[in-house]
């Protein structure tokens, strides 16, 4: 029954909603003075990483795509492109790490690399959008910030993982 299309659609919708809710909530956090402008903690990555580990690549990618669609509706084309470029790259790399390197790297490392890939994708995208490669000057500050937020989201995912697994089963029981 777990391969049922209705089950997968429902679970996917719930996870997408959770990812979107998290990225909305982190937008309410006031800017910290030393925080690089435009940088966000990326809490919705908790959901994407969970999906990549527990539900496979397609579900993780669907969440990433829906998130960027939501950014398009609420914040416009530029924000959506930024969400897409960072999201797709980090989802692909995180999935590959979980699949092939989880013997060597832990949740924290995968989360940090995911955050770095998110930055890298966005920097490439903004370099193309502005036609100016100087946007890469942002990279070192963003990378330090990515380490902090990557560790934080890794730790949070570890804490909420059992709850997210339970949610999966709960939905199964309703069915």
């Amino acid at each position: 029954m777990k391969n049922n299309i209705a089950y997968k659609t429902a679970l996917g919708a719930i996870l997408c909603a959770q990812a979107i809710a998290l990225s909305f909530l982190e937008g309410l956090i006031p800017a910290i003075p030393f925080m690089p402008p435009g940088a966000k903690p990326g809490f919705s990555n908790i959901i994407t990483m969970f999906a990549a580990d527990s539900l496979g690549f397609p579900m993780a990618m669907i969440i990433t795509l829906v998130k960027s669609g939501f950014a398009f509706i609420t914040r416009g084309a530029t924000a959506s492109l930024m969400s897409l470029s960072g999201g797709v790259l980090s989802t692909v790399i995180m999935y590959l790490l979980i699949r092939y390197a989880s013997e060597k790297t832990g949740l924290t490392g995968i989360s940090v690399i995911g955050a770095l890939c998110h930055n890298a994708g966005q920097l490439f995208c903004s370099a193309i959008l502005t036609g100016n490669s100087k946007t890469f000057y942002y990279a070192p500050v963003l990378a330090v910030f990515a380490v902090l937020t990557g560790v934080l989201t890794g730790v949070i995912l570890k804490a909420v993982y059992p709850a997210l697994e339970k949610q999966k089963k709960y939905l199964f029981h309703i069915h």
Binding site: P37, T130, Y161
Partner: protein, 123 residues
Amino acid sequence: MKLKLFRKADIIIIAAVIAVSGVFILLNSFDDSSLNAEITVNGKLYETVDLNAVNGKRVIIPDTDPHVVIVAEKGKIRFESAECKDKICVKAGNLTHKGDVAVCLPSGTVISITDSATDAVTY
């Protein structure tokens, strides 16, 4: 869940990232000999401002959509206001060091502080 929270490689990853970015940040912040601000719009150089030679306040409004207002003063430059939604460029505040950069994506405007010595070679 087969994933562990921490493994040895994680510490190496974190240490490497912090070390490499730390070196870049330090290199950029020590070099204050000359301050040139480059304003580019959609990849084309709009204007280069020598920040050490600015007297008083200079307002620069490039021809972009949405509009952005750039203010240069002695030793610093910033996006004063922007007509876009998120105002990330305005939040970037004053650019004062080599390597500082502020980007307004909707209008395609980038301000970056560069070294005039390298510029002489580049152009």
